[in-house]
Amino acid sequence: MKRRQMLKHFALATTAAMLLPSCIKDPKKVSIALSNLNVTGEEEELLAAIADTIIPDTDKPGAKTVGAHLFTLVMIDDCGNKESKEKYMRGLRAFDEACEEISGKSFSDLSVEERLTLLKKIDKNEVGLKEDVVTFYMASKQYIIQGYTSSQYFLTEVKPYQLVPGPGWKGCIAVSETPNV
């Protein structure tokens, strides 16, 4: 499987290189249209890797697969104010540096286990990080969780949303009759 994917990527890269020789050295572009944020393809990949660590794919889709990292970028881009956007971007750009200071490697070079260990440290505020980096992480975590729990997958497979619940309101039922509790 991995080999096949690699071949596919290789083929794609070769095609791209042939078609767009002048672009090959430019940084990768972000995959969605953003109005204000200037995010690179690498930064998008970093956020995707963070999403995949916070809520990983298991036998069921995780945050990256449902696109929660892209939702995060949309929300920061459209719903944050100027100051919070700037702070978020500073934090995003300083994240890998902070990561290297703590673990000696960039986030993408860490193993899956190492990534989780690192984020747990940040999450519990066990490492002294710059405020921007903490803000970036906390905002990302919040939107990644929101993006995941409001995704089509989550709201159809995990906690189904009913658009038309019907008139079955009950003001008082036993907790034992409630699902998932």
Partner: protein
């Protein structure tokens, strides 16, 4: 050519003209057309057809790009409407944006508007409590405003009339301060609400908690099925427009009903500039309309005109209807037009937790909540402020599954549901006292792009309101404590008037033409073929959500027009 003009004028002549298609204008249209009168309804906004023009009604949460949130750019461009709880991604297309229709705030006033066919009836909170004589007799008993020219007995049958058609759910509670009506089955209270109801009875005797009556069809009757409306499906996304017609709106109910008679002409995109006065005949003869899109002006004529433009816009149109006879606005002989505007004081909230009933919870969603009718100063004056407040009361348990852990642990946790303790919350709905100093007026110099003077709004709280906020907080804190609620948190939003979206008055009803604008039939004292049956007519505000009363007054006034053969 002369003949053409006469023909054209005849084509623009109706039995009646209704300005506004919102909750009260829709009722006027229904009642007039049902009685065989050719009726022109003018709406300044665009057309919104039931179902056809509800673009978000069947959208799933994940289909909203920002999951309901309003983007920052829109918020910054629209600070006023952004403060409204219902201005969200799913319904923002039904609200007027700040820069589309600017107005002048001499004092802060959040004017929330819905310019489209159906007006704010698409967006309202659907609460429908009747007034009682404790309300109609209020000004006379407590010495403010002027005496209402009507009493409960004058409007009771009209409440019944509109309730049956609109579909109102509720319990018959037998409370004189909140008369019972024609109710469809009520939507059940929660265990904690029932518990609080008992505690209030035990501790106070005269403080009651009931199911709030609301305009939702819980058991469709033939009259609702004939309207093409069905049982409420408890979607609780009413503000998007309801494909079932489960709640009452002009769009789902009165307007299509009026259209079915063949007597309705609905003209959207029609900004009414003024009412035309015939000096020779001594009555209004029609209206001057500016087409919202082309800006062309056109006149329409009718022997009877209803103004239902929403409270403050009704004031604006009347103030702008100047003639030799009425240089200060139509019917404004006493100079009181635009004055004595009032609203509801919604500033205070009180939240708490209750640690009982942990083996119980609720199931599903409901489109209403509990309601505590006014108990302060009800039978007699007992505080250092006038009147009092009603309150909404709501309780529930929520999924408080936290964000514990990271990775697979977090993922597993998010899939679980962890019910918290019961949360209770309540908000005040305070009566405010109409005063001459709370007014709207035309700006002398600034006009909008349709040539209408901009409205100047000068409305503020007073000492009575401040005392009432304090009393609500004190009384509810005590009521909560006596019920064993814990972790009590109170807040005063200090929100500007207007955000309650219950602005009323300016063209008040009364007995005396010297001190009021309208008589007991909502007819201008000084121009008898013009009727005002929206919020502008209100002499006082009581504490109840006002729409039901506008509907009843509207139907009653049309009956008067027909009975007295004005057309």
């Amino acid at each position: 050519m002369a003949n053409f003009n006469i023909d054209s004028a005849q084509q623009r002549t109706y039995d009646a003209i209704v300005i506004g298609s919102g909750i009260s204008g829709g009722w006027v249209a229904k009642e007039l057309t049902e009685r065989g009168l050719k009726t022109l309804v003018l709406e300044r906004g665009r057309d919104v057809k039931h179902n056809v023009d509800y673009p978000t009604t069947n959208m799933m949460p994940w289909e909203f790009k920002h999951r309901g949130e309003i983007p920052q750019e829109i918020k910054e461009a629209n600070p006023v409407v952004s403060r409204c709880y219902a201005f969200r991604e799913d319904a923002m297309h039904f609200f007027v944006k700040d820069n589309e229709h600017p107005y002048i705030q001499e004092k802060p006033f959040d004017w929330i508007r819905g310019y489209q066919v159906g007006g704010k009836s698409l967006l309202w909170a659907r609460q429908t409590q009747r007034w009682s004589d404790f309300d109609f007799e209020g000004p006379a008993r407590d010495g403010f405003a002027v005496d209402w020219p009507i009493r409960y007995k004058d409007i009771a049958s009209w409440y019944s009339h509109v309730e049956k058609f609109a579909g109102i759910s509720g319990d018959k509670d037998g409370l004189p301060e909140l008369p019972d009506g024609e109710f469809l089955p009520a939507i059940e209270l929660t265990c904690v609400e029932k518990y609080f109801k008992e505690k209030l009875k035990e501790n106070y005797g005269n403080r009651h908690l009931i199911v709030a009556r609301c305009a939702h069809i819980t058991d469709p009757q033939p009259i609702h099925i004939q309207q093409g409306r069905a049982q409420c499906q408890h979607r609780t996304i009413c503000q998007r427009g309801c494909p079932f017609g489960g709640y009452f709106s002009s769009n789902s109910s009165t307007l299509p009903w009026a259209a079915k008679t063949g007597n309705l002409t609905l003209r959207p995109d029609s900004v009414v500039h003024s009412i035309l006065y015939d000096e020779a005949k001594g009555k209004a003869k029609g209206v001057l309309v500016i087409d919202a899109k082309t800006k062309e002006s056109v006149e329409y004529y009718a022997p009877v005109i209803f103004v239902n433009a929403a409270a403050l816009n009704t004031n604006l149109i009347l103030l702008n209807s100047k003639s030799n006879r009425f240089p200060n606005g139509l019917g404004n002989d006493n100079g009181l037009l635009g004055k004595y505007v009032a609203f509801h004081n919604y500033r205070a909230r009180i939240n708490a937790s209750y640690e009982g009933f942990l083996d119980s919870t609720t199931k599903g969603k409901r489109p209403t909540s509990g309601y505590i009718p006014r108990f302060r100063n009800l039978h007699k004056q007992e505080t250092d402020f006038l009147r009092g407040y009603a309150a909404g009361f709501h309780s529930g348990r929520y999924d408080e599954q936290g964000w514990d852990g990271l990775g697979v642990e977090l993922k597993d946790n998010l899939a679980k549901t962890k019910l918290g303790v019961w949360h209770v919350n309540s908000h005040m709905m305070g009566e405010t006292i109409p005063k001459e100093t709370n007014y709207v007026a035309l700006d002398e110099t600034q006009k909008d792009e349709w040539g209408m003077p901009k409205l100047k709004i000068s409305i503020d709280y007073d000492d009575n309101d401040e005392k009432m906020v304090k009393d609500f907080i004190e009384q509810f804190t005590e009521m909560y404590e006596k019920a064993g609620f814990v972790d009590i948190k109170v807040s005063d939003s200090k929100q500007a008037p207007g955000l309650d979206i219950h602005e009323m008055g300016g063209v008040r009803m009364g007995k005396d033409p010297k001190t009021s604008l309208l008589n007991e039939w909502n007819q201008l004292h000084a121009c008898k073929n013009v009727f005002i049956t929206d919020g502008a007519c209100m002499t006082s505000t009581a504490t109840q959500n006002p729409s039901l009363t506008y509907m009843a007054l509207a139907a009653r006034a049309v009956d008067y027009v027909v009975r007295s053969k004005m057309v």
